[in-house]
Subunit: 363 residues, 2 copies
């Protein structure tokens, strides 16, 4: 058995997906070429790409007026690409809930009058500011949220209803690190984006979901390769797309579907999170998670040992127990367990067993 | 035996590289993770990335004042990223030799006063304008050339010596489709870039070589993720790099090295090109290549049947003979054989055999 890999991203992939990719590496479906060797304009790759898009659309019930784009540049790229396409140089409201939305706010400032509509910085990014308290501007071109903060482990369990808050601005959602772990309420979303390397597949592929009516407003300085309307008009083939990443993502989409779809991923995420947070909240103070219960991420679980001098021993013991990449992000410290779709319940149980065992030996 | 794949890109990879990738898919060097599943900040991936850079630097004898960056966005992305980083909003001279440099000229116009210093358009992009005829401006921030035009099959066999032409501007070279097929004279280069999907590896990885003194001049609207100085300062890890592409590229670099390095690739390229052009020039007029002999690409060989009604029959017969992806680019028509490093001499010989056989049967 392979070790359990808790990396925050690039992250563990389902083993059957890796096995299939290995088997098809030299010859995809008898065509005599591996997927990496195919022209993106040939019928083989076009069928792979169309199938990936179709399966993703089905999994997330993406409505027909929302385009799916396969792009490059990751979340940090999108922090610039979104305002270049949507801001029209006007006002942009950003809800700051952790490192990622903070970076989005800063980068949007290059292209627009970007302001924090709310911030949880005072709490150390451990609570979610209530939407009713957000200072939204009437003239905002869009409102940006990060619906799962990978570093701080804060998740929006429902997307805000901007219309109910009196705003007519489209909502932009960075959902990189929890996409496909729960349904998305598209009636509340104008644009969503996700780097693939957390819950989908290899780094270097970015998924963008954009409502038709938001296309066509890019600033003149927006590079053609990152202009959503150019990418959409060319079916994500304006420039050569990250073909192998799209193929791997397609394999993951089929794996999710075979497991029971997003509804089943949602159920498993709830089960895994309940198990891990349950122990972190009830272990006699040896470990703690600092995030407010209603704001806790089901994907990224930062936690701390009360005695941080034990951190190295904890990580060493974890590795010996086959539990990999548990070290926390350098900006936060401590530990972090990322338990994406590809992490089975047995992996979370193994982690809890190690947590208990380590606490017993060192408590 | 696998068929011979003449795709212009994404293109054939060396079979031993694909075999190794398949073998390591679930577990890289016993670490318990596949390469796609590793944190880019972990020691395993950092060693992969450093090794790839080191091997590439060795293969191309890249001097220490030239940084190697692993980026995303491909050649079309660089068409915007280069002027955002280097133009300072001033003058940019572009030598137009085919589709790719024409696109570079157009895109640079978003950020700078971009002009064609020369153009081979009147010849149908079949000749190289002599450097002595280029209209270079004293104030140009840089001069852009595409040293191998993938679509038109035109290659610069030596890079221009701008200093000898009286210019002090740095030379920017798009060498996407012939990188690693010949040495690069770095004394003539300020910046070079290459999409990996032609002669190196998977689509979605872009290599940028940039001289130290050209860093730090990005326009304020340059996205952080595409600011060379930001990427350089973070060792290509400002955003999550396309980790699997870097790994595959590293395997290809080691394969090139094991074959005898760039000098051996250079020798083989000359041999393969001589064989194919030799036949295309001497077959009784059944086939022809339109490019001026001194400007012919050793990587991308467009050719035409005198009777274009035979095109479909030619492609069908080629597929049956195990010769794939020979259809020409839609903007040029006809056929195109891309014979990158991964294409053995035996593949070119098989193509020539098919050319002869088809001409005999249909001539």
């Amino acid at each position: 058995m392979r070790p359990y890999n808790f990396s925050a991203g690039p992250a563990a992939l389902p083993e059957p997906v890796l096995r299939q990719a290995a088997e098809e590496m030299l010859d995809w479906h008898g065509c005599g070429m591996g997927v990496m060797e195919m022209s993106h304009r040939g019928k083989e790759f076009i069928s792979i790409c169309e199938d990936a898009e179709h399966t993703l659309r089905e999994l997330l019930a993406v409505p027909s007026n929302v385009r799916i784009l396969f792009m490059q540049g990751g979340g940090l790229g999108e922090n610039a690409i979104v305002p270049m396409n949507l801001s029209r140089g006007g006002a942009v409201d950003v809800v700051v809930t952790g490192s990622w939305s903070q970076k989005s706010l800063k980068e949007a400032g290059r292209y627009a009058d970007a302001r924090a509509a709310a911030s949880n910085e005072a709490s150390g990014h451990t609570e979610l500011p209530a939407p009713a308290t957000w200072a939204l501007r009437d003239e905002a071109a869009y409102v940006h949220v990060c619906s799962n903060e990978t570093i701080h482990g804060v998740e929006m369990h429902t997307l805000p209803d901007l219309a109910a808050l009196g705003s007519r601005a489209p909502l932009v959602v960075d959902c990189s690190s929890h996409i496909l772990s729960r349904p998305i309420d598209w009636s509340r979303v104008g644009l969503a984006f996700a780097g693939a390397q957390k819950n989908i597949g290899p780094a270097g592929l970015t998924l963008v979901f954009v409502r038709d009516d938001l296309l066509g407003h890019a600033l003149p300085i927006c590079p053609s390769a990152f202009d959503y309307s150019v990418v959409a008009a060319n079916g994500s083939m304006y420039n050569t797309p990250p073909t192998y990443g799209i193929y791997m993502a397609g394999l993951v989409f089929h794996w999710v579907k075979a497991q029971g779809g997003v509804a089943e991923m949602d159920r498993r995420a709830a089960e895994k999170a309940a198990l891990l947070y349950g122990y972190l909240d009830d272990n006699g103070g040896f470990y703690r998670n600092p995030v407010a219960p209603g704001a806790r991420s089901r994907m990224n679980v930062p936690f701390f040992l009360a005695d941080e001098r034990l951190n190295e021993a904890f990580l060493t013991g974890a590795r010996e127990a086959g539990l990999l990449q548990l070290k926390g992000h350098k900006s936060v410290g401590g530990m972090r367990a990322s338990i994406y779709n590809a992490m089975p319940l047995s992996g979370v149980q193994a982690l809890v067993n190690h947590l208990q065992d380590f606490a017993r030996r060192h408590g």
